[in-house]
């Protein structure tokens, strides 16, 4: 038996994203439920969100993945594994990854979905990194794509004001030096009922206070540990890109992390909470706007239903 030559490290080669064109403002929501712009902004920090009218999860994933692939300079033939992080497919079978790979002209790659809810992208990224370093794949297309709008009760202001649609993607490939740090991941299944879709006829339900308490007290140690395992002091971070759950959660974790020089992602203000898509979407948009530079270090931290969480330090492509 033998094993292939393995890469010393893996890194994110390129990013891409997609947002549906349809914008839903807080004033739009106020027309159909008991809420208003001030109420929404003060509680979750969102001004507007995007909602997919015609696009499916697979459609958004394909566009974001295609953009990341184009930006990487690789051809579809160079990709041999596709991972889609999602928890909002319209149907459970087939998975999104094989469909998306086919649409992008990626021939017969390994293809699977990851359901770790809002932490999904970080789980998929860790899996991609391990696959490249272990010789299971050469280049991996990692996509977070969600259509929360089809799982939300649009008369329930506790969830409808928060969740949104979109997709973000990253191409992960081999590297001489490490570009994706060790993942710190875990779960708290004792709180599985805090965020759930009970059955196929139900909408997404969230225990807001339980999730908020957990997110603002249990996650900054995970963030600090991800930095420590990568040998990076928080003061060295150029960016902190947590899951865009709620602006108050983002800011509470950022305050406790103490990464003074880091640009903190606040993409939720205009994108809403897009679950597994929020981290690559936010980071891709930060790179596009020139807010962060190539080669800088970013801490990504996903957390959500399960409850699940995962974080790692990455080099910005």
């Amino acid at each position: 038996m033998r094993i292939p030559d393995i890469a010393a490290g893996a890194k994110v080669l390129a990013l891409g994203h997609y947002q549906p064109a349809h914008v839903v403002t807080n004033d739009d929501l106020a027309k159909t439920m008991d809420t208003n712009d001030e109420w929404i902004q003060s509680r979750v920090g969102i001004k507007e969100r995007r909602v997919a009218k015609d696009e499916s999860v697979e459609d958004m994933a394909t566009i974001a993945g295609g953009k990341a692939l184009a930006a990487s300079g690789l051809s579809p033939d160079d990709v041999d594994l596709v991972i889609v992080a999602t928890c909002t497919l319209e149907t459970q079978i087939p998975n999104a990854a094989a469909v998306v790979a086919h649409r992008l002209g990626i021939k017969s790659p390994g293809a699977f979905d990851v359901n770790a809810a809002c932490a999904g992208f970080c789980y998929a990224l860790a899996t991609a990194s391990a696959a490249v370093r272990g010789g299971a794949a050469r280049n991996v297309l990692v996509i977070g794509a969600e259509k929360l709008s089809q799982w939300v009760d649009w008369t329930d202001r506790s969830t409808a004001v928060i969740f949104a649609d979109g997709a973000g993607a990253a191409v992960v490939g081999p590297s001489e030096t490490p570009g994706i740090g060790p993942v710190v991941w875990g779960s708290a299944g004792d709180k599985s009922e805090a965020i759930e879709v009970k059955d196929r006829d139900s909408f997404l339900h969230q225990e807001g206070q339980t999730v908020f308490r957990w997110a603002t007290t249990a996650l900054h140690p995970v963030a600090l540990e991800a930095c420590a395992r990568a040998g990076v002091d928080p003061s060295e971070l150029a960016a902190f890109v947590p899951h865009q759950a709620n602006l108050r959660i983002v800011e509470a974790i950022a305050r406790k992390l103490g990464a003074d020089k880091a640009v903190v992602a606040r993409d939720i203000v205009h994108a809403g909470n897009t679950s597994a898509a929020s981290i690559p979407l936010a980071l891709s948009r930060m790179v596009e706007r020139g807010e962060v530079s190539s080669g800088g270090l970013a801490l990504v931290l996903g957390f959500g239903a399960g409850l699940t969480y995962a974080g790692q330090v990455i080099e910005i492509p």
């Binding site: 003060s42 225990e207 206070q209 339980t210 908020f212 308490r213 007290t217 709620n246 108050r248």
Partner: protein, 79 residues
């Protein structure tokens, strides 16, 4: 020695001021968190977490929703 009600009230006033900006002097026993002080459900969680650190009494979420007034919290913390 356990803190007196007045000491808890002062500590709670300080916590509420830090989290919401509401002057501590407005935090008096008869006030309702939602109706009088306009404190939302997430700020209540932050107050509960800070109160736990300050007074060593855990206020779980299922209890938190029953604590409508400042007096309710004072009573809960005093056990």
């Amino acid at each position: 020695m356990a803190a007196t009600e007045q000491e808890i009230l002062e500590g709670l006033g300080k916590i509420i001021n830090e989290i919401t900006g509401i002057p501590a002097s407005e935090v008096t026993p008869e006030k309702s968190f939602v109706d009088d002080l306009d404190i939302d459900s997430l700020s209540m969680v932050e107050i509960a977490v800070a109160a736990q650190d300050e007074f060593g009494v855990e206020i779980p979420d299922d209890q938190l929703k029953n604590l409508k007034t400042v007096k309710d919290v004072l009573t809960f913390i005093q056990g």
